[in-house]
Assembly symmetry: C2
Homo-oligomer: 428 residues x 2
């Protein structure tokens, strides 16, 4: 099935806003086994919209149009859709009524402008928007079925997932259920994981499992798209592949599906009624900022301490007799002392120390830093020492990830020191 997407609106065309709606839609379709072949962005311009609709209608089987369903004069999608389909706009009474009660429930009066949002091309199929006033619809232009969706991301997401995707899957003749399974890992690069996972797809019959990746440094997302007759079939097909992935890269998997590294760490500590202190230097509070604001963290996150100098860290923690910390790169032993002292001072069950010495000089692609990480509990401590490079931002992002992931590994009884593709060992 040839699918196209048309994005509309001056704000997107002029780059005033980055077009995340497109990436979201395309990815969502991809995850469901559908592929977008062509994307067009045009502004709020009658002629360009018409031309884009007609051209897509010549080429595609299905087209998703995003935006232009609002109440203002520059929202032209319904009007141009009607023109392209050669029909008139007619009032959709039911939607007008829905909008009126939408406003009434919020204690507001509907503006007459909004009536425009209930005008649909004659013969259009109504597509529900339960969370906004922009009414979706479907209509045929040329040889393609067009689906019109709102520009507001929250409304688009709901409509795409609940209304458009099921229709597209029905039209595409895909009688199967599709599920996306995701693994979030840190420490192995995309091509490395790709080679480590060679052949896992073959563990499921008939090519029903497809492997893919999405890298966003420092994390890597490994994705399995699974097709089956129903949920039970999917589960059965997924099980051997999932088990094999865990066998091959399990220690590196921090979280799955919608879970996050910080969420997994918080969950572990919550379940154990634990508490956490975090001590940071060059990461500047970024590690604390990932955990502390989460719902439920108020019962776990005890204290965060940030300083740019090791002697200031020592002062904050009342560490006496410490060496002149700023003269040398930090050691794993120093990180251990810091973590122990933070645990004692705050009374937390766990303390994480991430001590970074960033190299001097202008920021550049090979600028690096030494990262020493320690996790301490009442009667134990574990640590690692690494060198990261790639410029100030990459060292900072990498150190925060490695720090939080070391804590995750500690909490899951995994070694906190394992080979890491982002680690530079040459200069240690």
């Amino acid at each position: 099935m040839h699918i196209e997407i048309i994005c509309t609106g001056d704000e997107v065309l002029t780059g005033k806003i980055v077009n995340t709606n497109f990436a979201y839609m395309s990815q969502k379709l991809e995850d469901a086994g559908l592929t977008v072949k062509w994307e067009t962005t045009v502004g709020d311009d009658r002629e360009d919209l018409l031309s884009a609709f007609l051209r897509a209608g010549e080429r595609a089987d299905a087209v998703i149009v995003n935006g232009g369903l609002g109440p203002t004069v520059d929202d032209l999608s319904q009007e141009v859709a009607a023109q392209a389909a050669g029909v008139e706009l007619v009032l959709h009474e039911e939607w007008l009524e829905r909008m009126r009660s939408f406003f009434t429930r919020r204690g507001r009066t509907m503006s007459e402008n909004n009536v425009k949002q209930a005008m649909l091309p004659e013969g259009a199929e109504f597509v529900d928007n339960p969370v906004g006033t922009a009414c979706g619809f479907a209509i045929t232009i040329g040889k393609a079925r067009f689906y019109f969706t709102p520009g507001v991301p929250r409304e688009l997401r709901r409509m795409l997932e609940n209304e458009i995707l099921p229709r597209l899957l029905a039209v595409s003749g895909t009688q199967t259920v599709i599920r996306l399974k995701r693994f979030h890992s840190y420490g192995l690069g995309e091509s490395h994981v790709d080679s480590l996972l060679k052949g896992v797809e073959a563990l499921a019959p008939d090519g029903s499992v497809k492997l893919g990746f999405r890298a966003h440094y420092p994390q890597l997302e490994t994705k399995l798209t699974v097709r089956g007759a129903d949920e039970a079939d999917i589960k059965a097909k997924l099980a051997p592949v999932e088990a094999e992935i865990h066998r091959r890269i399990g220690n590196y998997i921090m979280a799955e599906d919608d879970d996050t590294l910080e969420g997994v760490v918080l969950d572990h500590l919550s379940r154990a009624q634990g508490s956490l202190a975090v001590v940071e230097t060059f990461t500047g509070g970024q590690i604390a900022a990932r955990v502390a604001p989460l719902p439920g963290a108020e019962a776990v996150f005890r204290r965060g301490i940030v300083a740019r100098h090791f002697d200031e860290i020592a002062a904050a923690l009342g560490m006496t007799g410490a060496p002149a910390f700023d003269t040398e790169p930090p050691t794993a032993e120093f990180a251990e002392q810091v973590a122990r002292a933070a645990r004692v001072q705050t009374g937390a069950t766990h303390a994480l120390a991430v001590m970074v010495a960033i190299e001097d000089g202008e920021d550049r692609i090979d600028l690096g830093g030494t990262v020493c990480i320690a996790v301490a509990t009442a009667d134990d401590v574990a640590s690692r020492r690494s060198r990261l490079a790639g410029g100030r931002d990459w060292v900072r992002l990498g150190a925060a990830e490695m720090g939080l992931d070391s804590l995750r590994r500690y909490l899951q009884d995994l070694p906190i020191r394992e080979p890491n593709d982002f680690e530079k060992v040459d200069k240690l």
Copy 2:
């Protein structure tokens, strides 16, 4: 001039990466007074690329193509460009030589794959890429001049700004110099600033100054696009408008052009040989994380303290005789006590305390929080108390911004308490 942009690559088309290159290019052109009329994204597919090139060549005067200049087999831009222009690919000896020395300087050997990157359509104009191996070029297809650019953002930016933009401006017949002046503000919404600045454009002659906005919560960017004969002319035209903008919304302007709020705060403290302690609750370390990792912050950022409970803050700062902090929303006085205590404990010249009590319950759009902010020095303290709403993330982002901006206002001798459009006063 009718300008189009064609983005290429499976990673962009499938939504695996969000297309920030397009927004960047379009915005950059817009800022230079040029407008993109149409954007197309196609994958690494010979037929689609050819079709996209030929269609754009029929409609446009100028086309920027992004991506597909790499060394691998799925990088097809040069090849399809040659086909669309009806010419052969020929080796660009000079670029091959440049690539070889590029690799040699990095102690690596050039792979034979890279030779492909020196193959340009016959007759193409060479467009320099001083920071990568993807060679840019320009060629005419149909009635349009096509400019081919690399997909790597850093390489694209350099090439667009130094090579493509000057060529486009020359072709467009714009004999004028164009400059973009930007003001970053916090506390006033876009429509409010728009109404406050009504008429400022008229202070410059001939419509040579154009006003625009870009909102990214919690900040607002106000932009002036200025056209003039030369730099002196631009300066003269800009001066009265700039002065008037400062007169009308000056206190709310945190930074200008490429400066940032955190950079301005750091700069003020650096110049005064000052130092900073930051105490945070629900913002979780986010305020510290904006300042502490900056170049130069090692001499200014003294210490950050994060906790989710006010009594833990009190414990960390050795504040005795404090009330039962967690039973009530915080007061401005409590924030003042915290800031004073942090200053004394750390010996910093300035301490910022941002105490937030977030409401209980499920996250929702009207969830709010009480925010108490104080800035203390050795012999002074200033504070404000506000209510922010919009859900957990908005309260967190707003509190961090308001906190850091209060410090900026204090350092610039401005009132830290001024009307704020994001503040909800009804529930205080």
